[in-house]
């Protein structure tokens, strides 16, 4: 199994010139090898059907390197990646935002990687095989008036390609940035797209991070492209991601994530609150349909006093899909006045759909306020009857109730 990845790794190393980057990749690869491929014996992978992930013969993405962008110059703007490769011609960077590729500056992103690898096998494997990482720097005190778009376009017609990408963002002291991250796919062959983001929020930095994995056609600026390439969901596209946010004193991170899975997804979110008064807010809406699978893992590590996390996420599973949710709050020893609250509510819309949810608290300190709770339910039969008795037919009434359930999170987007 690992032989396949060794070949891939050799190809990757051959393409990289920068010695620091080569060494970093070797480190990541050794880490992954030592760890070995995750199995369902491991708690973090207990509910993850991995056979499709490891058994497929994923190939290197080298031949996608020179793919012609599907846009003319002056496309969607913000930071634009095509098959993981930064597209300077399609990107518009506001003042105070700088983008470099790792080949040119491979030092900074290494800072928090080991902590991430310990928790995320996917992140170590992806870093080992990633040739086109990005380093984004947001200067101190920058206040962006407009959201900064971060656009991932996947346009693959080569055979079974694994596309790993890593974006490291340094948020300077007291900056304020809203990042709107979107994914668009127009691929006709099996593709596994992995994105790792490592964010470092310096003292007083504020980041609002909106992630939209829903890939709604028509609403996307890429609609024509999507139509050309066929509709996502009929094709086997696997998407995995890891986000590691390091938060310094008085920094604030607010994340909103909307994900609709028809295929296979696993997303891992880690928040390391390391400075006093750092705070995190998370709102997530995860919906699976068809035979889709989505696993979302949230980890909040409180390393400093007076830090807080406010976490609400909701799940909706339809058809024969499966949703796996994990929420983990950890408060380290010797700190105080931590406020951490996690709420998860889920809606099961069919008998064959499955939801596994597990909230976890690990508290090693005394003076803290922490809570967690999870529920799984169905649409309220009374509410359905009430609506139908007013003439609204059953499918429309169900839709209204599902929308109502989702509204709390969607309104944040």
């Amino acid at each position: 199994m690992l032989a396949q990845w060794s070949d891939y790794f050799a190809t990757t190393q051959a393409r990289v010139q920068n010695a620091t980057l080569k060494a970093a990749q070797q480190y990541a690869f050794d880490f992954a090898l030592k760890h070995g491929l995750p199995t369902r014996q491991q708690e973090d992978w207990r509910y993850t059907p991995t056979q499709h992930l490891w058994q497929a013969a994923w190939q290197s993405d080298a031949e996608l390197e020179n793919k012609v962008p599907p846009f003319e110059k002056g496309g969607p703007g913000g930071i634009c990646l095509l098959n993981g490769t930064y597209q300077p011609d399609l990107s518009h960077l506001p003042d105070g935002v700088k983008v470099e590729i790792w080949e040119n500056n491979a030092t900074k992103h290494l800072a928090s990687n080991e902590k991430l690898y310990v928790r995320s096998f996917l992140a170590s494997m992806a870093d080992a095989l990633c040739t086109r990482g990005l380093l984004v720097t947001i200067q101190a005190d920058v206040q962006l008036a407009e959201p900064l778009q971060l656009l991932h376009i996947i346009d693959n017609s080569a055979a079974s390609v694994f596309l790993p990408v890593h974006i490291h963002i340094e948020f300077g002291e007291n900056c304020f940035v809203e990042i709107y991250e979107k994914f668009s796919k127009s691929t006709v062959t099996p593709t596994w797209y992995h994105v790792t983001r490592s964010f470092v929020l310096q003292d007083g930095a504020q980041c609002v991070h909106k992630m939209d994995y829903s890939q709604e056609e028509g609403k996307s600026p890429l609609a024509p492209l999507l139509q050309r390439g066929g509709i996502l969901g009929e094709i086997e596209v696997k998407r995995t991601s890891a986000l590691w946010v390091t938060q310094k004193t008085q920094s604030r991170y607010e994340g909103v994530c909307i994900a609709r899975a028809q295929a296979w997804q696993r997303d891992e979110y880690y928040f390391s609150l390391e400075g006093i008064l750092a705070s995190t807010k998370w709102r997530g809406l995860y919906e699976t349909t068809g035979r889709g699978f989505n696993e979302v893992r949230h980890t909040f590590l409180h390393h400093a006093s007076q830090t807080s996390s406010d976490i609400v996420y909701k799940g909706i599973a339809q058809d024969t899909s499966e949703l796996v949710l994990n929420g983990h709050i950890e408060v380290k020893k010797g700190i105080e006045k931590v406020d951490a609250h996690l709420t998860n509510r889920n809606l099961l819309l069919s008998k064959a759909a499955k939801i596994n949810t597990k909230p976890e608290l690990k508290i090693y300190a005394d003076d803290v306020k922490c809570s967690h709770g999870a529920t799984v339910g169905q649409l309220d039969a009374e509410a359905l009857f009430y609506m139908r008795s007013r003439g609204i037919d059953e499918p429309a009434a169900r839709l209204l109730l599902v929308d109502a359930f989702a509204a709390e999170i969607l309104d944040e987007l």
Binding site: Y386, R388, S389, R390, A397
Partner: protein
């Protein structure tokens, strides 16, 4: 208009209605009274099509159609409206959106085009005054955090908007103070017409001071045991339900 013949129904295999016969003609107001557990609410819910109840015998014809084979929404499209004993709270669905969706669905079923958004607002703002609710209730989640009286007023608002042909009031008076009761009655009386009928289900005679019925029926143990004019309600108020059960025995 509505013709009920030998209607029998169960809840979780327990017989509740044991043979109801009732005819309602256009323009008539019928009141159904009876002690707790006599089957009043079951009758209302069976007519509206709630699937919790199972009809085991009998027929119900409404506007020449077999009502019992229709879904709740099809019944609503035909003009049946149930005012709930306990209107449901639905967080996240705005009242105004719900009202507009309901109106347009019913209009569509009647072969009419969707109502223009501005016209709709004009109409609904006019109607909400009739039930003495502040306008901001339109923009709140459906019934969420409304008091008991406000929920009933909101139900009556739906009735005024949808203009049904048969209105079933299921103990709408329960838990209402006198002001709310008068508002509800005012709404109902405003809709009374020669081709619209009402089935008023109530435990107490009080509501019938404001909505004066043409006929009063007494339901006991799943059957109509006595029918009469409005004076029957007064008699029940004075003597209670005990004498009827004695008479039956």
């Amino acid at each position: 208009m509505l013709s009920i013949k030998n209607l029998q129904a169960t809840v979780q295999n327990k017989p509740i209605l044991r043979g109801i016969d009732l005819n309602i003609n256009p323009g008539e107001v019928h009141a159904i009274m009876g002690p707790n557990g006599s089957g009043k609410s079951t009758l209302a819910n069976v007519l509206a099509g709630r699937d919790l109840y199972r009809v085991t015998e009998g027929h119900v014809q409404y506007l020449e159609k077999d009502l019992l084979v229709l879904s709740p929404e099809e019944r609503a499209h035909l003009g049946i409206f149930l005012a709930f004993q306990y209107p449901i709270e639905i967080p996240g669905v705005s009242n105004v959106h719900f009202l507009k969706t309901a109106l347009n669905t019913i209009r569509k079923a009647r072969g009419l085009a969707d109502i223009d958004a501005m016209d709709f607002l004009k109409i609904i703002k006019e109607k909400i005054k009739q039930v003495d609710l502040p306008e901001d209730f339109l923009y709140r989640s459906l019934n969420e955090g409304f008091s008991g009286g406000e929920k009933k007023r909101n139900d009556i608002l739906q009735m005024l908007l949808l203009e049904p042909s048969l209105v079933i009031l299921d103990e709408t008076d329960s838990g209402l103070d006198i002001d709310a009761l008068q508002t509800v009655a005012k709404g109902v009386n405003a809709l009374r017409s020669k081709d619209r009928s009402f089935l008023v289900i109530t435990h107490y005679q009080r509501l019938l001071d404001y909505i004066v019925p043409d006929y009063v029926h007494v339901l006991s143990q799943g059957r109509i045991v006595k029918s009469g004019g409005p004076e029957l309600a007064l008699e029940l108020e004075a003597k209670g339900y005990g004498w009827l059960e004695m008479e039956q025995a």
